[in-house]
Symmetry: C2
Subunit: 366 residues, 2 copies
């Protein structure tokens, strides 16, 4: 998969995880305009703290490590993070404020600073126009790399969009719930790009849940190199926005499909809610119910658990009004359509089942 | 275990569950003064709806079925419930408003009305001064009956208190989270009894969580037959209140110990919170985190998950301030003490681990 014009990437092993690539780089030829959405977890990673500040600047590179969350690391956590950005920026002849950083992995362990600094020259010298190594370097318990690529025609020019993500566990909505990196060669203003990202995240990464646990490290970035068409006029904005959304929804679905230990991919469609907020509340109270999730694992149409979950968040459902339709629970992909019949709002989210394997993976991970 | 003066009980098999006793009765010689706390789930059982009304009346009997929640049963659900109360009341020569009813089991199935009505004479004729059969008849996935008994001396008279409970799954706080029946021979005003119950529930049944799922059927009743000492003066009220609380805490702990598939009993002590509410929020966000629960199953001190859980509910914890102390994770009973060091409020709750067995039980239950 060749990256959009203006981007290079690499992914190497530096020794943070027990095995596999664990340090990734996205490098911009020139500078990219960037947008970002971050976890709302108040005990967030130092990488999130720093990237929140840097994201408004022209971006030269993104450095990502897996295997260590760079969060709650006792003293010097923020300083370490700055040192990594500084080290990379000096190699690239820019300021540390032009670097974005993201981390994922264990909370509470200090980043191996010297290892990472020593690996940076190697990381840079390994760049290519392909994203494969990078897509591997950002994974933790994921079982496959997640990439989505798309082309959209704007004013006779082809705009490329490629997205990368890592997911697997600690996935819960109401923030960007994982790491996501989207690269495009479109030319676009930062403010517009940010708006498009926020909207697209709402229907993608903020519409998935695996275990109801909110991560300390989630962030999604979009970088635009500006090498292809300008996104400015209404029709182009609409087209571009749809394309970004498609990429994010594609990645979000892949995250749920790769949920830790999951055997089912569940598309949950709430209809007939009184308000937009109620539709979302209904969807997530069901998707986060351990009893609903275990019933799905057991291919067991125990719809009473849906009634209980809705009631727990104050949504009164009438016996004659509530309609639950489901595709076969025996299949790997299940569509459940729940009509509350009390209004006109709808919401679709993606979730997984809760399995003995999820418990085993998370009993052992550290 | 002999019941307090003025009470009789029975528990028989009527054929609602696949096996075992599934219909229970508490009978009062005369009438009892009663207090009740009910689930806050808005889609509650018809048994809850009716008992909420009846609890203010003098109580002649409590009828309980297991195996069917009497909830979301399409049409006639409330009528069926009234018919059961009416049938029992006619046998006992009282009004249906003098009967309390409670149910637990599958949601969405109509109660087998004729079976229950036919079993009522048998239920009555089986009464005795012992609570053993009753304690069995209220169970679903519980692996053992839950009874706690206590004596307290008031003005030279012995007041007896006996409590029964069923628990196992769908256990979450902020309401009475299971079925509980407490019998005492004390003489006490209804308003005072209600106040004592509400307070005691806060530190017992509202301080436990198993799976974060709120039931549609929970209720706790206290019935006072008035045969022994009067609870009126301040010192007596205090003594009686402490005794009731002890019984409820004892039952609550038994419920957590019998949590579906659990291998660990966890006592979670939050200290140093800014407010009472914050202490409770901190406790429950941790206890309901699937990642914390699976780590406990794995005997894995992954304290980063506590940081993440606290951050998700907006509790900022400093690296130098947060103190986590734990007894050995290898043992069956674990005490975890978490000092947030940001205030003076504390809260203790009881919870269990999340295990492959929990998933298996709930994948199959219907």
């Amino acid at each position: 998969m060749i990256l959009p014009d203006g981007f290079y990437a690499s992914g190497i092993r530096c020794g943070i995880k027990k095995k596999g690539r664990d340090l990734g780089l996205i490098l911009v030829d020139g500078f990219a305009c960037s947008a970002g959405v971050f976890t709302t977890n108040i005990n967030c990673s130092y990488s999130v703290t720093l990237s929140k500040k840097h994201v408004k600047n022209p971006i030269k590179a993104v450095i990502v490590n897996s295997g260590n969350a760079n969060c709650f690391t006792h003293k010097n956590g923020l300083k370490d993070t700055m040192k990594i950005c500084l080290c990379l920026s000096e190699f690239l002849g820019v300021k540390k404020e032009n670097i974005l950083i993201a981390s994922t992995g264990i909370i509470g362990k200090r980043l191996p600073l010297s290892k990472i600094k020593a690996a940076i020259p190697h990381l840079i010298s390994n760049i290519s126009r392909r994203g494969d190594d990078f897509s591997e370097s950002i994974l933790t318990t994921d079982t496959f790399p997640k990439m989505v690529s798309l082309k959209v025609n704007l004013k006779g020019k082809t705009v490329k969009i490629i997205g990368f993500a890592k997911g697997a566990g600690m996935i819960n909505p109401f923030m960007a719930t994982m790491l996501g990196f989207v690269l495009t060669d479109a030319k676009i203003k930062r403010s517009l790009l940010q708006k498009i990202l926020v909207d697209a995240v709402e229907d993608s990464f903020n519409s998935i849940t695996i275990d109801g646990c909110m991560s300390t490290n989630d962030c999604v970035f979009v970088l635009a190199s500006g090498r292809s068409a300008v996104v400015q006029k209404d029709t182009d904005v609409k087209k571009f926005k749809e394309a970004i959304k498609k990429v994010l929804v594609g990645l979000a679905r892949m995250i749920v499909k790769d949920a830790e230990g999951a055997t089912k991919f569940i598309i949950l469609k709430i209809e007939g809610a009184k308000t937009k907020e109620e539709a979302k509340r209904a969807a997530f109270c069901i998707a986060n119910s351990s009893l609903f999730k275990t019933a799905m694992y057991g291919e067991n149409p125990n719809w009473g658990r849906i009634v209980a979950a809705l009631g727990a968040v104050g949504i009164k459902v009438g016996e004659k009004k509530l309609k639950i339709l489901s595709s076969s629970l025996k299949k790997k992909e299940i569509v459940i359509r729940i009509n509350l019949n009390r209004g006109k709002y709808a919401k679709t989210i993606y979730t997984s089942d809760l399995t003995p394997q999820y418990v085993k993976i998370n009993a052992g991970y550290s």
